[in-house]
Symmetry: C2
Subunit: 409 residues, 2 copies
């Protein structure tokens, strides 16, 4: 008899048949005596359809009105799921974000949750109802409809779980858990039974797009027990995302390997080595809304230094253009680039207590003749930039070298 | 400088191009200095699409959840129109029924408006904004989303106009006004410049489906100046619906001719002529949710009487079946029916002060050899049931006989 929040994504509620399947799954939990709160996304494709409509009437739709339009996607699915549950003889009541009420700031299209009133939900749960809540949306203080931005339904699920003190927040998606790496690249990739919040954050931000990053931060902050599961499998425990202390002492050094294909590298050579140079180079890039990922500055010599960073490949040409003008300002010698980069990262809280992880990574890559072009490290992650053509090879050999093919010790 | 409520139906906002056209029309009024409140329906077809989705998950969707789902249709159009207005440089703000707030009872799918809070609207109007409101919807006391039933957007328009004391409520539709009769049947049919609320009610309930009947009642009750116009024409004054006193003294006797094709007649012959017989016959029919229209009971003789009524043609067979069992209870001699009936009605407040209108109608039909099978009258309407094959002929000759082909004197 637990209080469980389950969140189902757009694919899981992509058509009436799938909505009925979600209803059956919820009914099973309900029959076991659990109190159930369900958070839903819009049917897959619906949010994009609504955005396309908006773009047809306005080249730059007002964020307030965009939220009015796109929040309807979740409103449709919550009503439909309640009907499907009622068809199974289960009492169910739907709530929009405003009806809950999920109070947010007024940053339309990317609002942040400020507070959740759990009274309506608790009352309905106590009366034996399943409560179905629209993800991705809320209201501001003035009653305007807001949305939380892409992937915001995960955040709604976690925030609700925190607000009503749920025993667990289960995120149903189209994969059955978090893997050591992408199984399409390494067939031996294993599903992880547990992963820490910190590792999950590194995995998510590095391209393992299972959970929206903000929801993971939220779950970590409010200590919500978070589990990723597949909505297309009957059984399975998915992957539990835990605070570090919960983890098995015998944890592996590395939990997983994340990678990102679409990187590009830009190097500014012979920059005068003086304070403020990083800002002079990256300031104009940030102003152009280009996200910069890895940033490397070598130790200077002869009064100059080399400065490298990576950007998403679609931003490559734009960024090169910006730097051509920066070059003259800064007196840099040359701007070079490479548009076919990839990034590979090994992630694991275990590396904190195990020296030699980095050298094992570099040796593994060297043995395959893979040249490392950039290196960047954090406490629980080591990332390298390599030529994209070596990406699959690098992920495979690292997966084996760190023993990820075998079940955890 | 007037305060105008404009309501646009589903065809008028049926796609992004048409929504932009509505924006242009609103912009024109706004530029003339009018304060504008716009009420919108869902894009044509959208409500049906949503109902079909609901039917796919549940054979009998819960009315509360159905309202959650179908109310999204208008929420999309209000956002889109605001964007289109902003694209033209006009400040605009959308409101769902709940945001206004339009308070209704909790009769989901057919709620009635109890109260409208005009504060938000007035504040925005005073700030120079156009206000765009979702038609067809409201919230109950507990904050549940409700809808007003089909055609409810007209009612929203009129109720809002009453609440904020608008100078005029303009209903934009795909016809340019109310006609003396259907121009597809009588090419000489003329658009009426004015019609009284009472006449409009009779015309509407008899099949001139220009305005939702409840909205006309509402407008009459709260003395809202109501005008029907075409959203597909640049110019035109449409038809103004007035209280009787406003009308020209030289008004014509008859304002229009309404008709309904899909009628069927049922006659119960030789019923014992005693109290309660009408209820014994019509009670079971009403219980089966069959709408009965004209009801005629002849003066009895020999202790029995004949009892006739009309129903919509799709209900004909069902009704005959019900009456077969009623026959035995009541001791009636015979049940007869005719499934190819039509009803023609002449409508006009002028007939109150002009005797001989009925006889002119009957003579006109007799001269064409059209047999009148049933007659029913009200203060401002005379209806006859005739064989459907004479319908067009009857409407044409009556249109001419009452001088509707010519402009009003």
């Amino acid at each position: 008899m637990a209080l469980i929040v389950q969140k189902y994504g757009g694919t899981s509620v992509g058509n009436p048949e799938r909505i009925k399947n979600v209803a059956k799954r919820v009914a099973k939990f309900h029959a076991q005596g659990h109190k159930m709160v369900i958070v839903l996304s819009a049917m897959s494709g619906e949010t994009n359809r609504l955005i396309a409509l908006a773009k047809e009437v306005s080249s730059a739709p007002s964020p307030r009105e965009l939220d009015v339009v796109i929040s309807t996607g979740e409103q449709v699915t919550i009503g439909l799921l309640c009907m499907a549950l009622q068809e199974l003889g289960i009492n169910a009541r739907s709530y929009t974000g405003g009806q809950v009420r999920i109070l947010t700031d007024d940053a339309f299209t990317k609002a942040r949750i400020l507070d959740i009133d759990g009274d309506n939900i608790r009352r309905d749960l106590d009366a034996g109802s399943v409560v179905v809540v629209a993800g991705f949306q809320g209201v501001d203080e003035a009653g305007n409809i807001t949305t939380l931005g892409r992937g915001g339904s995960d955040t709604t699920g976690v925030a609700l779980a925190a607000a009503i003190k749920a025993d667990e927040c289960q995120i149903y998606t189209d994969v059955d858990g978090v893997y050591t790496t992408d199984p399409r690249v390494v067939p031996e990739a294993r599903k992880l039974d547990t992963i820490t919040f910190e590792e999950m954050l590194e995995m998510a931000s590095l391209g393992s797009k299972v959970l929206q990053i903000r929801s993971v931060e939220f779950a970590g902050k409010y200590k919500v027990k978070l589990r990723v599961l597949s909505s297309f499998q009957e059984e399975g425990e998915g992957t539990l995302i835990t605070v570090e202390e919960d983890k098995n002492m015998e944890q592996p050094i590395i939990s997983g390997i994340a990678f990102n294909r679409d990187e590009a590298k830009i190097t500014v050579l012979g920059v005068p080595d003086k304070p403020g140079i990083a800002y002079q180079i990256l300031g104009p890039v940030a102003e152009a809304n280009v996200d910069v990922d890895m940033i490397i500055q070598n130790v200077g010599h002869d009064g100059t230094t080399d400065f490298s960073f990576t950007v998403n490949r679609p931003d490559y040409d734009k960024t090169l253009g910006i730097l051509e003008s920066v070059k003259t300002h800064t007196g840099a010698r040359e701007v070079r680039g490479d548009r076919t980069m990839a990034k590979v990262s090994i992630v694991g809280v275990g590396m904190r207590s195990h020296p030699g992880v980095a050298s094992r990574m570099f040796r593994t890559l060297a043995e395959e003749g893979i040249n490392i072009q950039m290196i960047s490290t954090s406490e629980i992650k080591i990332s390298v930039a390599i030529d994209e053509k070596y990406l699959e090879l690098a992920v495979r050999v690292l997966h084996r070298a760190f023993g990820l093919d075998q079940a955890a010790a």
